[in-house]
C-alpha cells in the first residue's frame, strides 16, 4: 500500500517537473492553479485580428503559497486580467503578452531563485513583484546584474530602490508608497488635521514594514511638536497584546498608531477596547482590506488610516466588480498592483516601441503621469520612488469611507 503511495508521489513529482519544464520552454503560464485566465487569453489571441508571434513574457514573483498567498494570488489574478485586456486590444508591438508567475513564498532566498528562473528559463523582459521589502532588497542586485527591470508592488522600504550607501538600484522600481512617505503623511495628518498631540505606538518588531513606518512616523510627529507617550513592541502571531495594551492604557494617549497588517489590527483594536482604551486608532496601508471592518467589528469604528485611493475611484470600483465576477472572491488591493504593473510596463513598451529590457528600464525611469487604477503617478529618476497622493480613510459603521487626498512634500 505504502509503496503505491510512494510511487504515486514520485509520479506526481515527475508531472510537476514536467510542468516546470514546459513552463520554461513554451512559456505557458506556469502552474495548474495559475493557468486558467491567461491561457484563455492566449487562445483568444489566436484569432485573425489578434496579436501574433512569440509572446512577450512578463514575470511575477510573490508568495503564491503560505499564509500571505492571499495577496500574492490576488496580484497574479490582477495581472492576468490585464493580459486579457491588452491581448484583446491587439497586444503590444503586434505580439501577445503573457504572464509567468512563480512562488517565492515571501522568502528572500526563494524569491531570488524564482527571479533567476524567470529570467534564465522563461526569458521574461520584466518582472513584477513582490509585496515584501525583504524579498525585493535581496532581488534588486540580481535584477541589476541581469539587467531586467523589477517592479515591486507594495514593498515599501527605501532600500528596495536605493541601497544603504545611497546608491540607486538602476533596475528596481516600485508602484506603492515608501515607508518614509507614509510615516510623514500619518504623522503630519494626525497632528495637523486631527489635532492630536499625545500619541502611543505599537510596533511589530519582527516586521520591517511596521518598524519602518514607526521610525518615520515618530520623527515627523515629534518634529511637529507631538509627544510619544508609549512605545510598545510585539510580534505578528502573538495574538495576545493585552500586556502591551495595558501599559499603553496607563500612559493615557490621545491616539494610538497601529502600523500592522489588518489581521493583527483586528485583534489589537478589539483587545484595546476590551481593556477600556478609548483613544483614536490610526493605521497605515496594512489596514487596506475589506475584511478589516468585518473582523474588528465595532472596536475599529471611527478609526483613520492612510492608503492609496484603492477601490474608490469609479474605474477601480468597476474593475473590482469585474474581478469579483471572474474569480468569485473578494478583490484585495494587491490585484490593483498586479493590473497596474502590467499596464505600466505595456505603456512603456508602446512608448519606446520596444520590448527590450534596457528600453523598458529607461521608460520606467522617465514615467510621467501614468494613469492606473491606483491613481496617477510619476517616477522620481533619482530614487525611482513614485510620487502619488495618499488617501485618508475612515472606518464608519462597518464600512470604509474615503475622506480626502492628503500629501506632504
Amino acid at each position: 500500500m505504502l509503496k503505491k503511495v510512494l510511487s504515486a508521489l514520485l509520479a506526481l513529482s515527475l508531472v510537476a517537473s514536467l510542468a516546470g519544464c514546459s513552463g520554461g520552454e513554451t512559456g505557458s503560464t506556469a502552474g495548474a492553479a495559475a493557468s486558467t485566465a491567461a491561457s484563455d487569453a492566449g487562445s483568444a489571441a489566436g484569432g485573425a485580428s489578434g496579436p501574433s508571434g512569440e509572446p512577450i513574457r512578463i514575470g511575477y514573483v510573490s508568495a503564491l503559497s503560505g499564509d500571505s498567498a492571499l495577496w500574492g494570488q490576488a496580484g497574479l489574478n490582477g495581472m492576468k486580467l490585464a493580459v486579457e485586456d491588452v491581448n484583446a486590444a491587439g497586444g503590444v508591438l503586434g505580439r501577445p503578452i503573457e504572464v509567468v508567475g512563480y512562488d517565492g513564498q515571501g522568502q528572500p532566498l526563494d524569491s531570488v531563485n524564482a527571479l533567476n528562473k524567470l529570467i534564465d528559463e522563461s526569458k521574461v523582459v520584466a518582472v513584477v513583484g513582490t509585496n515584501f521589502s525583504s524579498c525585493n532588497i535581496a532581488m534588486a542586485p540580481v535584477a541589476d546584474s541581469k539587467k531586467i527591470p523589477l517592479v515591486a508592488t507594495a514593498a515599501s522600504s527605501p532600500s528596495v530602490t536605493v541601497d544603504e550607501q545611497g546608491k540607486l538600484h538602476p533596475y528596481s522600481f516600485r508602484i506603492g508608497f515608501t515607508d518614509p512617505f507614509q510615516g510623514r503623511v500619518l504623522g503630519s495628518y494626525v497632528y495637523e488635521k486631527l489635532g492630536f498631540k499625545k500619541a502611543a505606538i505599537i510596533t511589530d518588531i519582527g516586521d520591517n514594514y511596521s518598524t519602518g513606518i514607526t521610525q518615520y512616523l515618530t520623527k515627523e510627529f515629534t518634529a511637529k511638536g507631538g509627544t510619544i507617550v508609549a512605545k510598545e513592541e510585539a510580534r505578528s502571531g502573538d495574538n495576545d497584546f493585552r500586556a502591551q495594551l495595558s501599559k499603553i492604557k496607563s500612559a493615557n494617549p490621545d491616539v494610538l498608531f497601529i502600523p500592522w497588517i489588518y489581521k493583527d489590527v483586528a485583534l489589537i483594536t478589539k483587545q484595546a477596547r476590551e481593556l477600556g482604551i478609548t483613544c483614536q486608532f490610526v493605521g497605515a496601508d496594512g489596514w487596506d482590506s475589506q475584511d478589516l471592518p468585518k473582523l474588528a467589528g465595532t472596536a475599529i469604528d471611527n478609526s483613520y488610516y492612510c492608503s492609496r485611493p484603492g477601490f474608490n475611484t469609479r474605474e477601480a470600483i468597476e474593475y473590482g466588480e469585474r474581478y469579483k465576477k471572474v474569480y468569485n472572491i473578494v478583490p484585495e488591493a494587491e490585484c490593483l498592483f498586479g493590473y497596474d504593473g502590467v499596464m505600466w510596463l505595456v505603456q512603456v513598451m508602446k512608448e519606446k516601441n520596444s520590448a527590450d529590457p534596457e528600453a523598458i528600464r529607461d521608460g520606467l525611469e522617465n514615467t510621467k503621469d501614468f494613469k492606473g487604477y491606483l491613481g496617477t503617478m510619476s517616477v522620481d529618476p533619482a530614487t525611482h520612488d513614485p510620487t502619488r497622493d495618499a488617501a485618508i480613510f475612515q472606518i464608519k459603521d462597518g464600512a470604509i469611507k474615503y475622506i480626502e487626498n492628503y500629501s506632504v512634500n
Binding site: N113, P141, T211
Partner: protein, 298 residues
C-alpha cells in the same frame, strides 16, 4: 550554466555544509539539535558585518564567522550537553529563538527587523564547491577516526562507552562544536550569496529543515546527508510551479519517506559502488533488516 542553475547549486552546497554539521552531531551521537539555524545566523551576521563594514577579506570573514559560531557552541554545549534527549533539544530550540529575537532587538549592530542589506556578493560557485569538498573531507576524516568510533559508541551504548573509558562528555561537546562551526560556515556563505540578511531567515523552520534533511538522508551517513540535502532542497524547487500545492506535497513527501524508509535514504552506511550490487540482492529481505536495525538503535 544559467544563473538559476548556479543559484540552485550554491544553495544545495550551503545547505549541505549546515546539514553535514547536524549529521555529525545527530547521526553520530543521536543528540537532536533545533538550534543550528541560530549558529548559521551568528556566522552569517559575523561575516556580513566584517565584509561590509570593515572590508575584511572574504576568507578571513568566513573563518571568523565559523569560529565565532563554534565559540558560542562551546559555551552552550558545556552548559547543556548533560541534559537528556528532549530537554537538550528544547534548550537548543530556545537558543535558536533567542538568537533571532536578540538580533531583531540589537538594531544598531544587525539592522534589526529591517534587515542587513548591501552585503558584497562574494560567494560564487567555486568557493561553495571548495567549501563543500573541504567540509566533506574533514567530516569523513573525523567520523572515521578514533573520535568517530567513540561517537558511534556513544550513540549505540553511552553507558558501555563510558565503562570502557570513552570521555563521553568531551566527545559530545566536540561533536556539538563541530556542528556549530559547520552551521556558522554555511551561514557566512549564505550572507555573501544572498547579500541581504534578516533575523527571521534563520528561524525554527530552518533548524527543523536541517534536522529533517539529516534524518531523511539517514542518520550516521555522510553520503546520505548529501542525498538528503539534494532531495529536500530540490523538491520545493521542482514543485515551484505548483505554487499553492508545493509545500503540501513537501510535507507529504517527508512523512512518506519516514514511513517507507525508516532508516532514511542511507541509514548507517555510506554510498559505494560495490554496495550497490549487494543492495539489489538485499532488496528482498529489506523489511526484516530494517526491523532489526531499529531494535539495535533503540
Amino acid at each position: 550554466m544559467s544563473g538559476y542553475l548556479q543559484g540552485i547549486i550554491i544553495l544545495v552546497g550551503i545547505n549541505l555544509i549546515a546539514v553535514l554539521g547536524v549529521s555529525i552531531l545527530t547521526g553520530f551521537t543521536k543528540l537532536f539539535s533545533f538550534g543550528n539555524a541560530g549558529f548559521m545566523s551568528i556566522g552569517a551576521y559575523t561575516c556580513a558585518i566584517l565584509t561590509t563594514r570593515y572590508n575584511v577579506p572574504f576568507i578571513v570573514a568566513i573563518i571568523a564567522g565559523a569560529a565565532f559560531a563554534g565559540l558560542v557552541g562551546y559555551g552552550l554545549g558545556s552548559l547543556t550537553l548533560g541534559l537528556q534527549g528532549d530537554y537538550f533539544l528544547i534548550t537548543t530550540l530556545g537558543f535558536g529563538e533567542c538568537v533571532r529575537v536578540l538580533f531583531e532587538y540589537i538594531t544598531p549592530v544587525t539592522g534589526g527587523a529591517k534587515g542587513f542589506s548591501g552585503i558584497p556578493h562574494y560567494t560564487n560557485i567555486w568557493i561553495v564547491l571548495i567549501s563543500v569538498i573541504l567540509a566533506f573531507i574533514f567530516a569523513w576524516t573525523l567520523t572515521h577516526s578514533k573520535y568517530g568510533r567513540n561517537l558511534t559508541a556513544i550513540r549505540e551504548q553511552e553507558v558501555a562507552a563510558q565503562a570502557v573509558g570513552v570521555d563521553t562528555a568531551k566527545n559530545k561537546l566536540m561533536a556539538f562544536v563541530v556542528s556549530a562551526v559547520y552551521a556558522g560556515w554555511a551561514g557566512a556563505l549564505y550572507a555573501n550569496s544572498l547579500t541581504f540578511l534578516e533575523p527571521k531567515i534563520f528561524n525554527l523552520a530552518k533548524s527543523s529543515e536541517l534536522t529533517i534533511t539529516t534524518v531523511i538522508g539517514g542518520l550516521g551517513s555522510l553520503t546520505g546527508s548529501f542525498l538528503g540535502t539534494c532531495v529536500v532542497t530540490l523538491l520545493p524547487e521542482i514543485f515551484r510551479s505548483l505554487s499553492s500545492y508545493r509545500m503540501l506535497l513537501y510535507g507529504i513527501a517527508v512523512v512518506v519517506i519516514i514511513i517507507v524508509r525508516p532508516s532514511g535514504l542511507y541509514g548507517y552506511k555510506e554510498f559505494s559502488i560495490t554496495r550497490i550490487g549487494k543492495w539489489f540482492k538485499k532488496l528482498g529481505k529489506k523489511a526484516g533488516d530494517a526491523k532489526r536495525r531499529g531494535d539495535v538503535a533503540e
